[in-house]
């Protein structure tokens, strides 16, 4: 596929081929290449069931083991995977996928149209309560045309259908294994089977997941036989493990360490613009945050440049919208200027010339989560807003986000990481800012009638230009006019590797792909 070829990688492949040729027939590490790569992230996968996960560390492994019908390439373009071709009928709701022939799941079950039908029946079965049910609820039915052709019919023309189908949770699992293990699918190595270039060989919870490559995969045989995922929760320990050579690749590197290692040059530092953005949200039901002028004042009181340059060591970019630039539907609305005079004027207009008292809730689960709250508090103080900080562990923080009615939710300003894993405006805006209570992911109870109308119209709009215009309007509302959050910065996805490692590709979605990775001895 086109996504597999870029100049850099072609170069790497040439070197590889040369190395392999030079030392052919020298098992098990031809050409001075190791047969194992060790990757370390902050946490283990929670499950390897793509239909039932919402955390990146699980997706990290899932995207190596499973494949979707269509997927994102390294530049976030949509390309065929298990489907070679696909088209939508004029009605805007009938999508036909022509499947790749000759593919089998890791357990030997053949991949065909019926497997696709059984997969969507599984994720859309409300009784099984899969976490990704909501993502696919627009799918009305799935029809098997012939073993190599499947038709998905949506309940209404859905503008974000392709990115939704490219989402890793649309991965096709082995129906035989899924039916044998039921709810336990994806919880052990034996209970996991997809069609990806690697299969799960072993899984010791919280210690190690071992992936073994699949020979003669339709995408080619990956150069490295084994990929080991070894979680190290402590950031400093993970960085030290890399520098000591105990692991080959690490993710989620603290920015100050990225800068230090980049300057030292003893490891390779990779950054990818991502779907992730960091922000603080407002609980708009708590006065004075019901007044958009107060929220706009706060937006102008934050020096995003200083935060990015210092706290993030330059490894982020100040936000320019409610979405990040690599997402479909993004509109560049510019950085919100750091302007204390304007902030004070807006506060005065809103009736708070001397500021007020609020509080900031944060969690160290987000990179620099506590530090960001401290900076925000110190910057708000400049316009007279006193904001003590409350630090919560992740478990407690999440309880505030479980669809609590506003009067039961004590949070006022709270940290939030955004990242719509379809890389599309619909999933990036609708679940988060469409009016509550129909929407329980709207943790700040944001409500704007025009925004709701625009988002609903955009969702059903399939014309690309009209869709873009609607999403631009939606972003103007929620980013500028009636801000739903203190937008801070767009994250880079930060990965560091030993210099002996090549061909590692961090994706904007916050995962790393190792299908082309090599480790020199």
């Amino acid at each position: 596929m086109g996504d597999d070829v870029t100049a850099v990688r072609a170069g790497a492949a040439l070197v590889l081929a040369a190395l392999a040729a030079a030392c052919s027939g020298a098992p098990p590490s031809p050409g001075g290449l190791r047969d194992t790569l060790i990757f370390s992230a902050p946490a283990d996968a929670t499950t390897l069931d793509p239909h039932n996960t919402t955390d990146t560390e699980s997706d990290q492994v899932i995207q190596m083991v499973f494949e979707t019908l269509i997927g994102f390439d390294d530049d976030m373009r949509i390309v065929g995977r298990l489907a070679e071709r696909w088209e939508v009928a004029d009605d805007g709701v009938t999508w036909t996928f022509h499947l790749r022939p000759g593919v089998t799941f890791h357990d030997g079950t053949p991949f065909d149209a019926d497997a696709v039908r059984r997969n969507f029946a599984r994720v859309l079965d409300p009784d099984q309560r899969h976490k990704r049910f909501q993502l696919f609820e627009m799918i009305d039915r799935v029809e098997v045309v012939d073993p190599e052709t499947v038709r998905l019919i949506t309940a209404y023309p859905f503008g974000a259908f392709e990115p939704t189908m490219a989402h890793i949770s649309a991965a096709i699992v082995s129906p035989a294994v899924a039916e044998r293990f039921g709810a336990a699918f994806g919880t052990t190595a034996e209970a996991t089977a997809g069609t990806g270039p690697y299969r799960v060989a072993a899984w010791r919870k919280d210690q190690e997941i071992t992936l073994e490559r699949v020979d003669d995969h339709w995408r080619g045989t990956p150069p490295t036989r084994r990929i080991i995922y070894r979680p190290i929760a402590e950031n400093a320990a993970r960085v030290m493990a890399l520098e000591a050579g105990d692991v080959d690749v690490i993710s989620r590197v603290p920015p100050p360490d990225m800068r230090r290692m980049e300057q030292a040059g003893h490891v390779t530092v990779l950054r990818t613009a991502s779907i992730g953005a960091q922000q603080f949200r407002f609980n708009v039901t708590k006065p004075p945050f019901h007044d958009p002028r107060v929220r706009r004042a706060i937006a102008h009181a934050v020096d995003r440049r200083a935060i990015v340059d210092t706290l993030l060591a330059g490894f982020a970019t100040p936000s320019t919208s409610a979405l990040t630039p690599i997402m479909r539907g993004y509109a560049n609305l510019g950085e919100i200027p750091y302007d204390l005079a304007r902030a004070r004027a807006l506060l005065r207009e809103a009736g708070y010339p001397n500021g007020f008292r609020t509080k900031i809730a944060t969690t160290p689960r987000y990179p620099m989560g506590v530090e960001l709250a401290e900076v925000l508090a110190s910057q708000l103080k400049q316009i007279g807003i006193e904001a003590p900080i409350e630090v919560y562990d992740w478990g407690t923080m999440v309880q505030f986000w479980q669809g609590l009615p506003p009067e039961k939710n004590p949070q006022e300003i709270f940290i939030m990481g955004a990242g719509a894993s379809t890389a599309d405006a619909d999933w990036g805006l609708r679940p988060i800012f469409q009016s509550a209570p129909t929407n329980e992911n709207n943790y700040g109870y944001y409500s704007n009638a025009e925004f709701d109308r625009v988002i609903q119209a955009a969702m059903r709009e399939t014309d690309a230009d009209a869709r873009q215009a609607l999403y631009r309007r939606a972003q103007e509302i929620v980013y500028l006019e009636d801000p739903g959050a203190i937008w801070l910065f767009d994250n880079y996805y930060l990965v560091a590797t030993r210099t002996a490692v090549e061909g590692v590709t961090p994706s904007a979605l916050g995962t790393v792909t190792f299908t082309r990775a090599t480790v020199r001895d």
Partner: protein, 275 residues
């Protein structure tokens, strides 16, 4: 008797060093506003994670705040929590222990059971439970440390008081018609002071550890206030980029907790040579 106790303490070199450390740290905490070179809360984003220099002898943290100033002000918070909570635990614990020893019977049995229940909980778990109920703040940290140290101090008091109430001078006072309160205050309490004082000193160290532990977990003192446990917790992510940010508070916690323990042991040996 007093003179000899002091002499015995002075002969214990480790205890003397520990006491010296504690006096110094206490003085530094009290004098922090004058000693600290900078405002411990002053954020300077242009000067983050700076290495040690003349202006910042221990460097700066991730927000450009002076680590030495935060350490000094952190001593106030950490020692303040420890002294306040152990003080409160002493008042309550000694009172309860004396009453239990004096009344015996049902009161004593109930006292022993309740203290046993409290002691059965792992200390950090108990503290987390208290903070979860009361909300996270400096005040709830103090309550948590009181709940943690109360049973030990109360039991030590009870054990010592049980011995003291059997003495002839207590019987004589009773026979003379003295009130319970007067007897407990004038005769029983002074006879129990040695183990109580020694135990309280040792527990000051445990209190520092527990309060730092809570703050380390994000449950104790909330940012931006400087506290040693919280500084350690935030500094450990920057361990490679700015090691002093985590090492300095870590060393401070260790030294002070250890000093309280050594000084407490020395105190016990000096006051009660038999033990």
């Amino acid at each position: 008797m007093r003179g000899t106790a002091l002499a015995r303490f002075a002969a214990n070199r480790a205890a003397v060093v520990a006491a010296g450390v504690l006096v110094t740290v206490t003085a530094a905490a009290v004098l922090a506003p004058w000693l600290a070179p900078h405002d411990p809360l002053a954020v300077d984003l242009m000067n983050t994670l700076a290495p040690p220099s003349a202006a910042h002898p221990l460097g700066t943290d991730h927000l450009g705040r002076d680590t030495l100033s935060r350490l000094l002000f952190g001593a106030r918070v950490s020692l303040g929590i420890a002294v306040t909570s152990i003080g409160a635990a002493l008042v309550l614990g000694v009172g309860l222990g004396l009453l239990a020893a004096w009344h015996r019977g049902l009161v004593d049995a109930a006292f022993v059971r309740v203290m046993d229940v409290l002691l059965a909980f792992p200390d950090l778990l108990l503290a987390i439970a208290v903070v979860t109920i009361l909300g996270r703040s400096q005040a709830s940290t103090i309550v948590a440390v009181v709940v943690f140290s109360l049973p030990t101090l109360a039991r030590v008091t009870r054990a010592a008081a049980l011995g003291a109430v059997a003495h002839d001078f207590v019987l004589a006072a009773r026979a003379a018609g003295a009130s319970s309160r007067w007897i407990l205050a004038r005769h029983v309490l002074p006879a129990c002071l040695t183990p109580i004082v020694a135990q309280a000193t040792v527990m000051l160290g445990s209190a520092i550890l527990l309060a730092s532990g809570l703050s380390f977990l994000g449950l104790g003192v909330q940012p931006p206030d400087p506290e040693w446990g919280a500084m350690l917790s935030r500094g450990r992510d920057m361990l490679r980029a700015a090691p002093l940010g985590a090492v300095a508070p870590g060393v401070a916690i260790t030294i002070v907790a250890l000093s309280f323990s050594i000084a407490g042991d020395g105190l016990r040996d000096a006051l009660d040579p038999k033990g």
